[in-house]
Amino acid sequence: MSTDNLIAADELAKQIKMAVEGIKKKPGLMKSTAASMELVHKYVERIVTAKDEGKWVATHGTQQPLEIYEAMGVRGLFIEFWGVISDAVKLESVPAALNISASTGTPGEVCSFFRNMDGLLHAGKWPKTDFMLYATSSCDNVKAYHTLGRRYGIPSFGMERPYLPYTPKALEHWKNEHKRLIAFLEEKTGTKLDYDRLKETVRLSYRLTELSLEIDRLARHVPCPLSAECFGGVLLALRLMPGTQEAVDFLTELRDEMQERVDNGIGAVEDERFRVIWSCFTPFWDPTLLDFMQKKYGAVSVGEVLANWRGEANWILDPDDPLGNLAYRTQLAPGNCQYASSQDWASNVVDQARRLKADGAIFNNNWGCKQASGLGRLVGDELMRHCKVPSVTLNVDVIDSTFVSRAEIEGQLDNFFEMIEGSKAYQERKVAA
């Protein structure tokens, strides 16, 4: 099977670098767009150069304490992001990797983030990885880390998160799992964790939380100052590089630019007609869709559940107990509602819809996601019950652009926005505004 279309890490880094230069020259974009791509470039470059710089690389899933990695010289390689950026940079890469995965016998019904990794590992195009690290959340697919690690001789470690992390007993267990992760990394790297360094990465991570909450507050403004090209910025910073100064600097720049736009009454579009939240995840399989929605419908994406903190997210309980803080963060962190009841997910979405004054919600039913497939109806019903916000479900694959045609998506969006515009709740909101 041909591997010509697969994109490797060094090529990815080069292409992103070129994209940064292109963005700098493109008029009409938010200034922070280049900074967000620079952050992405930095992230990929760190993985590419890790070996030369004497660092380790850990392929990992969601809900990982990346602050510990950072403090131990371990560079994270988030598999979901790798699928997203591969798709964004070279459209043919993900479908090619999925084909290779299928040729090994992996069924096409499991998550394509993982199938993409499966295919790239099989073809020898996955970045050099020292460990596979994962946690119970977000989904059943995390079994793949051990399975693929065994197949390709990569050591792995899983953190077992209680289903309900809210009791002292559960929290203590979860904190101990952090200690076990540290013990695993210390054994594999031969390096002891410097707890002072960890306190610093946790401090930086908390600063990132504060900045993302400030950005959330700014996104509540009508018109929303956050435009499509920077919409994913918060998620990038939170999921890729918590515990780093680079991420803090980026969100500071984004926050400042949004404040400036609010002060000057600048919105993502001139005529903001609809405010949309993504109640499952954003269209990673086609990142141009957000811009299309802005231009065609005046529909601005104001929030997404995977970047939503609960409440004020004050997860620093004791500055001298960085592990306790990290364990507690899990209760509040964006995306942790994936590994919780559907009602919990729905309450996050409802809070976000109210806060961000949403007119509609888009639920991406990812073909390989068993979390999502039993969730959309309930989330939609809760949104309608609590805030009369209608939803549309798009049947898609999270990163496989060949799964559904763009025309079909556009047709559904045409109908959706027409329906919202004609709804009584929307009319009432507009009058009230």
Binding site: T106, T136, N141, H146, T147, Y163, L164, K169, T393
Partner: protein, 392 residues
């Protein structure tokens, strides 16, 4: 099958008591006597605790007939496990109205979503959710034990009845006896001519989780006695093992056995895992339950480190002297999906032929499946002939 199901009187009685599905004679009798029924979804729910609370544990599943989807897919989209959709459709159809409670665990994403649907759209008087550990170590045991203790407390509060360790110990004894009897049946299936068909054994396993366990144990004793007394034997050319997703449609297995083959063992949660081992009666009862449910059964598909599952399958195949394995996976099962590659590799290394079938839960074995099974059996015949000693 050669032998019709009604030739075993004890099995016929089990089937009578557990029919019609799901609100059966046994369930109606239990409810008529003022009893409550608690549904459960997956194998990380210790029935012993529900039993000790004086309630009837009942596994929520489908059965021998496919369930027509007419509504469930609006709640659980089509890219999901058809077992989960089947259970929800049965709820929408009012078939599970008799349940007073529901307990599930975080064993799988789709189980969790089904539980949430019940909680949101059809909340039952008692509902609970446990953590199903993915690891098999001491920390996992302690985490699970903590959840079990909370579960027991909540159930006691619901019942306004504090059930003691002695009550739990009594229930453990009842369930241990059931496991022991079911294990004896599995042992008999090692014979060259097994006394029961796979479809019959499946009916036995289903009955275990659909009726009071004390009555089930009595019937199991009768069944084993009947088998020994009658010298019942099934003579088929090929011995098969069924692995993968839980089957509840015995007609699917019967379809395999309508050919010249008999299923002598399985690797299903509803099958041999239910008959496996004993809860340690020397330990404090709650701890014993936690140790059994986390560590005491063979590694299953949901365990992160599932290497042992593949070895277990290989070892069982050898113990039961099977000619081939039929791996049947309900589509959209993430866990089985990730085991496929290594399962195939490991069985190839062990030189055990395997037929991989993806299917929809509860659907009858169609012509396409039958053709594939026939071809598989022909291949097994060819292998057998090739290894036979040449005459003369």
């Amino acid at each position: 099958m050669n032998a019709p199901l009604n030739t075993l009187k004890a099995l016929s009685e089990m089937q009578r008591l557990t029919s019609p599905f799901p609100e059966s004679v046994a369930v109606k009798d239990w409810k008529a006597a003022g009893g409550q029924v608690v549904g459960w979804f997956n194998p990380y729910i210790p029935e012993e605790i529900i039993h000790a609370a004086g309630m009837l544990p009942f596994e929520m599943t489908g059965d021998n007939e496919p369930v027509q989807m007419h509504g469930a897919e609006a709640y659980i989209y089509a890219n999901s496990c058809s077992k989960i959709r089947t259970c929800w459709q049965l709820q929408l159809d009012g078939k599970y109205k008799f349940l007073d409670g529901l307990v599930s665990s975080s064993m799988c994403d789709q189980d969790k979503r089904l539980y949430s649907l019940f909680e949101y759209y059809n909340k039952l008087p008692y509902m609970d959710m446990l953590y199903a550990p993915r690891k098999r170590d001491e920390e996992a045991v302690q985490l699970y034990l903590s959840d079990l203790q909370d579960f027991r407390d909540r159930l006691a509060l619901y019942r306004w009845h504090r059930f003691s360790d002695a009550d739990i110990a009594k229930s453990i004894k009842v369930y241990n006896r059931g496991r022991e009897l079911m294990r004896q049946l599995y042992e008999l299936r090692k014979r060259d001519r097994p006394p029961v068909a796979g479809a019959e054994a499946l009916e036995v396993s289903k009955a275990a989780v659909r009726m009071p366990r004390e009555r089930f144990n009595e019937l199991m004793e009768q069944l084993l006695d009947e088998i020994e007394r009658t010298g019942r034997e099934i003579e088929k050319a090929r011995r098969l093992m069924v692995i993968g997703s839980d089957l509840h449609n015995a007609n699917q297995m019967a379809a395999l056995e309508s050919l010249n083959a008999v299923v002598v063992v399985d690797e299903m949660d509803i099958g041999i895992r239910r008959a496996w081992g004993q809860v340690d009666t020397q330990l404090p009862p709650m701890e014993a339950l936690a140790r059994y449910y986390v560590m005491g059964r063979p590694i299953d598909k949901h365990n992160w480190i599932s290497d042992g599952r593949l070895e277990f399958i290989g070892e069982l195949a050898a113990q039961y002297n099977v000619d081939g394995i039929v791996s049947q996976d309900v589509r959209f099962c993430t866990y089985n999906g990730w085991d496929k590659f290594d399962l195939k590799k490991q069985m190839q290394e062990r030189d055990i032929p395997m037929l991989q079938i993806d299917l929809e839960y509860g659907h009858p074995a169609g012509a396409q499946m039958k053709i594939r099974v026939e071809a598989f059996l022909e291949m097994l015949e060819g292998r057998a002939r090739a290894t036979e000693p040449v005459a003369g």
